[in-house]
Symmetry: C2
Subunit: 244 residues, 2 copies
DNA sequence: TGCTTGATCTGGTCTGACCAGATTGGTAGG
DNA sequence: CCTACCAATCTGGTCAGACCAGATCAAGCA
């Protein structure tokens, strides 16, 4: 459900991003020609072009006719969609990005939840209970917690009746999907998370803005801290990338 | 500076989106095959594929191997980047989207400005003054106000030291670029806007969070109301799209 | 009626070709 | 020795056509 790209295109996009990272290319630098990339990656030029069309649309690269392919921004400085793509591809970013994502999530989600308290309909409420139930089931069944978590938070935000806010938060959620996968390996965390989610729904049901706001902050901040701890402890191997 | 896509790819993307709109395709509906699209649009299949790669990456379409191309979401329900693309292409959306964008902008921008008040450096401040000056010059020279406005607001947000928030707000800004173009045709509005911007910088310089917050709300809400009035008055022709 | 089978359609990928500018290297002229 | 000009080369943009392997579905056989 997550991978948006075709196998080969996705593969080539990944290869290209890796190339950029590996060669420490900076904004304005020129990439090898399409023909050379296709040779280097062992795919046809048409495949390279598809990947470049995607990178272009994401404003990561810029193709200048008769000239070459240039890096529009550093890999870490594209659009949000670009970040999601990188997260999907398993590329990591520096800690500052993680902190910024957390902060942005708290900001957007807190306000969204306030709106949800004001505007939620009974339909939203039953949807929330349903999603909450699905969440609990996923814990029982040992299913995809990261996915269930994303779905729950998005349902929460959706109750705020602002589709743009939902779209804004979606990439922020998807971005931390990878981290969450490891995060939910702990049973204690899974259950604490479920308890938090119950509180969320209760707050929205009671239209208690203050409670909801406090909950988000604590929930997201705690989760972020845990993930950070996990990253430092478990995976020095997976934690570094270029920081210019 | 805005158009991110190559001529032909952009052209085909536009044609495809128009096709979807014209035929009132809904989520899950199937588009014509690549071969038929290429024939219909009068371009090679490879060009269609590039466009589809972009639409795929934006999660607007989904290509199922050996099956067909399907609409992942209604055109109005893609990612933020997709909305920007549509705005760039001159496609309009329903009023609810406009309202949601305004609300989301206020939420994100208010919090970003609060952060800016706390964290802005002297470098940020001089950058802001510089951007403000450029803004005033653009008014004098009769330049691209929409662009200058976007740049100013992004500089404002950037002072909050959260790159993710900047990236979040960028599409929201770009999205309303079209509307802004007409908006800034009024001289009165141009000057009121400049005055507002001066106040913004002053508030951030004084680290006055409350003032900054009040300013954003009033500034964005007023602008949105004006644009709405303009849309209702001037262009019934340009205001409707499908609302399902 | 029900099941099998093969023609057809679809996206995925590759090869190779041509175009028109941009770039660049070398050579002819000063 | 240096300058100026021109042609070979390189680049992205686009097109045409081909093959593959599943998916689909209708026709035909049991």
């Amino acid at each position: 459900m997550t991978p948006p790209l075709n196998s080969e295109t996705s593969h080539t996009v990944r290869k290209t991003l890796e190339f950029v990272q590996h060669h420490r290319l900076a904004k304005g630098d020129r990439l090898p020609s399409e023909r050379e990339l296709s040779e280097r990656f062992g795919v046809a030029r048409s495949s390279v072009r598809e990947a470049l069309a995607v990178l272009d649309a994401m404003r990561i690269t810029e193709r200048r006719p008769k000239s070459g392919i240039y890096l529009r921004n550093a890999v870490e400085d594209g659009g949000l969609e670009a970040l999601v793509l990188q997260a999907d591809l398993g590329l990591t970013f520096d800690p500052q990005v993680t902190r910024d994502v957390t902060e942005a999530r708290i900001i957007c989600e807190e306000q969204a939840l306030r709106l949800a308290c004001q505007r939620r309909t009974d339909a939203d409420l039953s949807k929330l209970h349903q999603t909450l139930h699905a969440y609990a089931s996923t814990i029982q069944a040992g299913g995809d917690m990261a996915e269930a978590d994303v779905q729950f938070h998005l349902a929460l935000v959706a109750a705020g009746q602002n589709r743009i806010l939902v779209r804004t938060l979606t990439p922020l959620m998807l971005m931390s999907r990878r981290w969450r996968e490891r995060y939910f390996e702990s049973e204690a965390i899974r259950h604490r998370s479920l308890a938090d989610h119950r509180d969320f729904v209760a707050a929205i049901e009671a239209r208690d803005e203050a409670a909801a706001a406090t909950l988000v902050r604590r929930h997201v901040e705690t989760a972020a801290a845990d993930v950070r701890a996990l990253a430092e402890q478990g995976g020095a191997a997976a934690s570094q990338t270029n920081t210019t």
